[in-house]
Symmetry: C2
């Protein structure tokens, strides 16, 4: 099987490549070719005998998508995106990458005519305004930012291109990905990760929201698991509804911190300072964001067990099993 | 006030122009300029002293939208669209007109920078798959066809451009427009009108679905009323949710026919032949389509009284008060 990954240089993309290399197959089909794409050409994985192509370029150029799809990859993971903070700061770039990139990819697949499975990473940013708790699977999409609006637009294209038989699409709405390794990105929600990551690294972190604020999280490992599961899913089970809320672990920031204390101790937790930030609170006005992800659960998508597991995954995958006590 | 209408040559567009001419104002603001656009230049209304510009062109060309917005119309009615049957038959044309047209218009307004009120006609075709009865205002959008998908995409652009302060948008999801005057168009739902229109014209009509099938209707007069009301609505009352289900009259085809009998008699009703059509039944699989339009009702949108009123409006507006008995 030939797999194409866009946004392959990003955090989830790299972890997905690692997993593909470890498993060597998706849904029972042996991988023999991998095409990795991002703005800068991603690194090729080591120790595989597959044909690997890496390429740097702008997915928002129609020619780029056409080129990527020319050799008919049977499975496409479309991860390339500009994050919420950047899409809000640069309106044009946000829509260019987040919508036009998807549309070019879909058009390239339609023209190529080989009907690939296309797995698209959508987001819980499709929901906004007054939200019920939990948010049902069939709740309306009213995004609070341009990033979320672009995701809904892509979901609609994906579903319609699928209905018409041009691709076989599955969109997965990722909850907050926690703990994000590395430096903070431009996402306003970055604090959910940094209050865990920075203290474990011996650094101070700021908690800008109340301890009672609840959000839903998935580890990068669980997110990669969702992608693998979506890749092998029986499309017929989805009907017209090709985009699914993913399950996650719903905890308050206070519960996140208590899980950190259990794993790493008081001294690590003492590195978190509570500095309320009105701007961030305005971006995330809901006190509790939880999802009724029963469709995804019934289809076999697996969330992390609890927030302690999410922290352990971070320490294991991104910190070689240690932290700064 | 300067008003721009796209799709002004269509059925709703022409009736909207008639109403604007009769009223001379929208929401208390006197009209002094009207720009009418369609593929072919629409006819200019007679007997007005306003500056009237009519223009033919393709709204899916970016330059066209720019030109239309150059003189900063304060109120834009964006009605231009390819109907459902045509959007399904010609995938490229459907998205070009139904999505790109909207996006060019929004971009032109953003570049112009005058923040017009933009009233957009969306559709109940945003809903599909398994539907509750009635469909709540906050139900998810899973369109059953490319026309509906394009409408959802436009709704999302409209809401986000509004949130960002580039336009002041209101999207109205029209129920079935009944009775459509003139010849059938390419909409698969055409029979809801033709079973009333053709018999009143002395012609035979085909009912392709069961007598128990229920749909929600608004007369062209009520639809124009929605547009006028949307044009003058206080945008602040809408929050992030700029797109609204419009209220309508929910009746079965059997009830439509009984209303016709009451108004026009048995001989007219005898011109309807029941010929079940599997293709059409597959396009509209739901036995009953009703809307909980409580948001629109609370905001003052007014539906027709009942289906008899809808028939009377057709006889009065489109048949000069008479029919073939």
């Amino acid at each position: 099987m030939h797999i194409l990954i866009t946004g392959a240089g990003g955090m989830i993309g790299r972890k997905l490549v690692d997993r593909l290399v470890r498993e060597g197959q998706v849904g029972g089909k042996t991988i023999d070719r991998l095409t990795l794409h991002d703005i800068a050409a991603p690194e090729a994985p080591k120790g595989v005998t597959w044909k690997v192509t890496t390429r740097g370029g702008d997915i928002a150029d129609a020619g780029e998508a056409k080129l990527l799809v020319a050799d008919a990859p049977e499975l496409i993971f479309h991860l390339a995106a500009v994050v919420s903070g950047e899409a809000e700061a640069d309106f044009d770039k946000g829509y260019r990458v987040n919508v036009d990139g998807m549309r070019h990819l879909l058009e390239a697949a339609r023209t190529r005519g080989h009907k690939p499975r296309l797995v698209f990473t959508s987001s819980i940013a499709v929901f906004g305004g007054e939200l019920p708790d939990p948010i049902p699977d069939d709740f309306h999409t009213t995004p609070p930012n341009s990033y979320g609006a672009a995701k809904v637009i892509c979901e609609q294209y994906l579903a319609d291109y699928t209905r018409r038989g041009f691709v076989d699409g599955v969109g997965i709405r990722l909850p907050g990905i926690t703990v994000r390794p590395g430096r903070p990105n431009a996402a306003a929600s970055g604090f959910y990760s940094s209050i865990i990551r920075e203290p474990l690294d011996g650094k101070e972190a700021i908690l800008p929201v109340p301890l009672t604020k609840r959000n839903t999280h998935a580890s990068p490992k669980a997110a990669v698991g969702f992608l693998m599961h979506a890749a092998a899913l029986d499309g017929a089970a989805l009907g017209l509804r090709r985009n699914l809320n993913m399950p996650g672990v719903a905890v308050t920031t206070g519960e996140q911190i208590e899980a950190l204390r259990k794993i790493a101790g008081d001294k690590v937790v003492a590195r978190i300072r509570h500095v309320p930030d009105e701007t961030i609170m305005k971006i995330f006005p809901n006190e509790s964001v939880r999802f009724d992800a029963r469709r995804a659960l019934a289809l076999g998508f697996k969330p992390d067990k609890d927030f302690e597991e999410i922290i352990r995954i971070h320490i294991e995958e991104d910190r070689r099993g240690t932290f700064v006590a």
